[in-house]
Symmetry: D2
Subunit: 363 residues, 4 copies
């Protein structure tokens, strides 16, 4: 049964003119029960027609009704017609603005890094840790809110790790991991990485990224403990992380090596089966954007590859391949993980988080 | 004092028409005491003018005297005027042809992988293990040669590891390492990686490469034991290796994490100093192609980068940067290493090996 | 009303393992009335499982029923179960093989260049010159066929010209044109252009391409003259053509300058309107693959761009932008045209040609 | 005989921190008679150490003495120790600042576009129109200067045209030309073109570029008329120009078609000879940076190519290839021209202009 416009949840996007913002617009087009009614941006763009202030880079055109919207300033009073706020704000301003909207009792789904590690704030990859949504109760109590809350999605590079680890830890605890990332330039936003820096080149450094991956993975993979503190008990997995920027448009690829705590370690067959059989709560719950397969396992020796595999499952899956043992014997298993950094790694995750929150009655 | 042509050593290049072969030609132009007098290739090219059968990709033009040479077949009888044979042959044919030349008592410096791991064959990165040349005596005895011998240079990706490790092991033994490579497409030769495979993409697999890196590093870093067996006692460093092909023309970048055997481990300052102060035997011996600095240490947080740093020291140095500790505590030190894969990683190493062999009287 | 499998036309693809061949497979997946039942290739692949001999580069996976097909040799006797033959054969073999199939009375839609300029062979861009199909009658008479015939689609770069010119000539004859192409590497097939040749580079030459563009455009834009000769009266437009290969995966971009015969020339407004209003016979006829808009006109000053616009209308449209006058006064109009070289420029055109032939009762 | 430091001309670079500015620094390193003593930039950088405010992208390191210089503000009073000012200023500020320096009686060599078309200002490509320097006398009179003057170098894309045309017009007047450019991203400065815009893409538009090429070419190719007006009589060649940005780091490639006024037109052999034999006044005068060959003619059908040929003659030559007739008969000759946009097309030209001015006693 189709949802009528009247039944749809009215949404706004803050930071709607940036790289993440335009991706939100694209993903919300034709959404069955989320209706985009407002786009917000900085004073520079506010008051102007949306289409006139964006650099649209998606293969489908700007939805025509959105193109003609007048950009609103990012202050809560301008969004009284909205039930859900998606934030694609830059971290230089997101901290303060999101807090204003939270205090104004809005339901906010943010892609910014500012509040990710804050207590009471669920940091969610929807195909990993939906139960963390329950922290919303404590958050409302803490901030004295009726219906508002703030849910963050994760760093774009960490999703490949946490989705794979969520599946693998069904076999036993991982007690050490080494990760080397080859990240696409869209991870740096727009205009982001200059062509002169990345053509025929690699930049073996992304400021703050290695720290974020380690910290966010441990929070996402943690357990929500209702009593007494309503907090996340973080997992503690030592991770050795090296991040690189490569000449790829979309898709972050990770070379991962892991060691399990238990001896003997799970076999490669068990590992492969665990990845293939993994079903997330977002799928079980029937979230609209949930992929059919949260993890797609590749058998070809040279896959996954960013350009060929990033759009599998519409960008909501994590691709895993090259599952192999480590000839050196140090690690139990090595593999390659690939995820779409602006879909599952950004706007897409935020939207799926909203879908789950609606399903569970938080909105 | 200039070397006259009469005093120069006459050289030939086998496989002179391929990517490595043309690099040999380029590097030998204007060499003070190596004179290229013959170019050899497969039956398809033999008998033709050199310039008519190559795909020259270097910014300097084909040396005019070489351009006009008639390509010779790769059989020893055609090279009686040569004292030194450089082999840029493809591994599909190198094994047999090089053995024929060896048995015909030629001095061969090979870039092919076929004989690298053979006993009696020095596998040499000239800025690392010149003493292995001494194995030539045993090799001559074994093959019953008067003046001939076979010396191999290494895989193009391993040089970044062994040069750095040679410096670091002056501080103490390394007992574990993890390496993730981002390798350029020239490492696959010409035509090599199709543009359709690498544009906007990463290929997270290079057939056989991970195994070669582990095996060759242990031999190169081993010690030559004269008595009783005249063999290399290989080092045994467990290495966890993942190799990737990226959209870079030249230069292999490695993300490396290491652990020392000793506790407490050397400090980052000691590590940095050891890298900066490292001087190889090739430099001490005064090899013509030896770099002023065998290792160039970078302080900028985002260096070395392939395009900006691969040509430092004319491609004969290893660049090291991002020397840092591992926040997870698992490894003692993390760093990035970059080397030029067709210079120090291929033809350049072979030429420096020849220079050292001449200096030490083997030719 | 859905077409049942029984009602579908059975098709085969010759040269099914190459770049054009795999694109045929991808485009025929889920086709409402064309059913792929056979894949053919050279002796090297014949007898093997299709999935084991291809290099699949499309974002959707190989259709599972095709993946398991056993590749057939390219001889007519193996295709008795097929009504339609699509040829993605390489031109080194296409000439002879296609002629064998023609003489065996098959309906062949070929992407190869061999027979394009032959008399009696319709050279068709389906959104331009469907009436040329009528030449099939004369062709059958000439070759003494009952139901077979050969229809060629055009060179991949010429489509941008002929579709635009078909629209523009409704305003009056074009009497001179200058064209400079920036062509993608997929136009060279797979493996095609080596990464080492195209990264950070342009190749200002494509063998034979400039000649093909001139010759094919004049035939495609010609008129079929039924009597007395049943032949194409070619248009004679002097074209000055320069072709370049650039680092783009898909999409050929053309910088075009034209002069009309009539004075005063049509205005830019008339030109823009003619392009926007153009409707091809393929659309009117209701061909399944026909685009909604055969020409998409862009107003943004920097569009069309290959990566952003090549997939508009599923790759079956020609994008036109930067419609402007020539300040020098030599030409009446300058513009940029972009088309997808492996869809409208290759396999897609062939399939739409087949759809039209079916609609018109030739199959 | 070496020039001692005392005899060297003291120089400054304004806009020294940008892409053109750093190229000036690189090219002036080791210059025999130009000594860089000051670097200037905007208020944001002034007062800081040069190395701390630049994004250096050249393969050779920042000269150590320059690295430690304190950046000066761009006001004339800070440059009393300088005889020559090179301006790599952005055109948003260059107009005013250069005029201030001119009125303060400095000798300025500017890469900015602001004053290029001004009367009294020589617009010079040193291997084309050195005689235009004579306009300095009139300029000084006009601005009431003792020793100061302003000389501009040209747009980076126009050099390929004017150098080739200067050679060709020795055969007779060119009366029509069509030019399609494929320009590198360094032409847009740094950060310039975002990686997200240019990877797997072409941008068929560069704001203002087509107009500049037409206008500047006509001035550069014009004749200096001493009496009565001391002005340039511009050449009037109708040029049809289309500009594109492609994924190339350095080097602008032009596809050119020309028609001569005279009938019969010069033959291809004559054209080729004229290009090969062309010697510019900068060479005759013995300018230090003048190339041995102002034009390098290529015979290979697929050359020149940006990556392979841009550095020929250290970037001071124009490469010409694919010299051929136009099968359509409209043009007399078609060819491809390639030049290095930040050397002959920017900083290098400015330095050679200064060398010529010194040789001729203007400084």
């Amino acid at each position: 049964m189709a949802t009528t416009s009247a039944q749809k949840k009215k949404c706004a996007i803050l930071g709607a003119t940036g790289a993440v913002g335009t991706r939100f617009v694209q993903l919300l087009e034709n959404h069955p029960f989320l209706e985009l009614v407002a786009v917000g941006a900085s004073a520079k763009s506010a008051g102007k027609r949306y289409a006139s202030v964006i650099h649209w880079q998606h293969p489908t055109p700007v939805p025509s009704n959105i193109a003609d919207m007048i950009v609103r300033p990012c202050t809560p009073s301008h969004y009284q017609d909205c039930e859900i706020i998606f934030s694609g704000l830059d971290s230089s301003v997101a901290g303060e603005i999101e807090m204003e909207f939270l205090k104004a009792d809005f339901a906010i789904f943010s892609n910014a890094s500012n509040h990710r590690m804050a207590p009471f704030v669920p940091l969610m990859v929807p195909t990993v840790n939906l139960p963390h949504l329950e922290m919303i109760h404590a958050q409302r109590e803490h901030y004295k809110l009726q219906k508002g809350f703030l849910v963050c999605n994760s760093n774009c590079a960490v999703v490949g790790i946490v989705v794979a680890f969520a599946a693998l830890q069904k076999l036993g605890a991982i007690d050490q991991a080494t990760i080397c990332s080859l990240q696409s330039i869209s991870g740096a936003g727009y205009p982001g990485t200059p062509g002169l820096d990345i053509l025929d080149n690699v930049i073996p450094y992304i400021a703050g990224e290695e720290e974020k991956i380690q910290a966010e993975a441990c929070k996402i993979l943690g357990n929500f403990q209702k009593d007494p503190s309503a907090s996340i008990v973080e997992q503690s997995i030592p991770m050795t992380v090296a991040c690189n920027r490569v000449a790829v448009l979309d898709g972050h690829l990770l070379c991962v090596s892991i060691r399990f705590a238990q001896r003997p370690a799970p076999s490669l067959d068990q590992i492969k089966a665990a990845l293939q059989e993994y079903t997330s709560d977002a799928q079980t719950l029937g979230c609209f954007s949930a992929p059919q397969r949260a993890i797609v396992v590749h058998d070809a020796p040279d896959r996954p590859q960013p350009r060929l595999d990033r759009n599998i499952e519409a960008g909501f899956a994590v691709n895993v391949g090259r599952i192999r043992s480590d000839p050196s014997g140090v690690y139990d298993c090595m593999f390659v993980a690939l995820s779409h950094n602006t879909i599952l790694g950004a706007a897409g995750a935020s939207i799926m988080n909203a879908e789950a929150a609606i399903k569970q009655g938080y909105v």
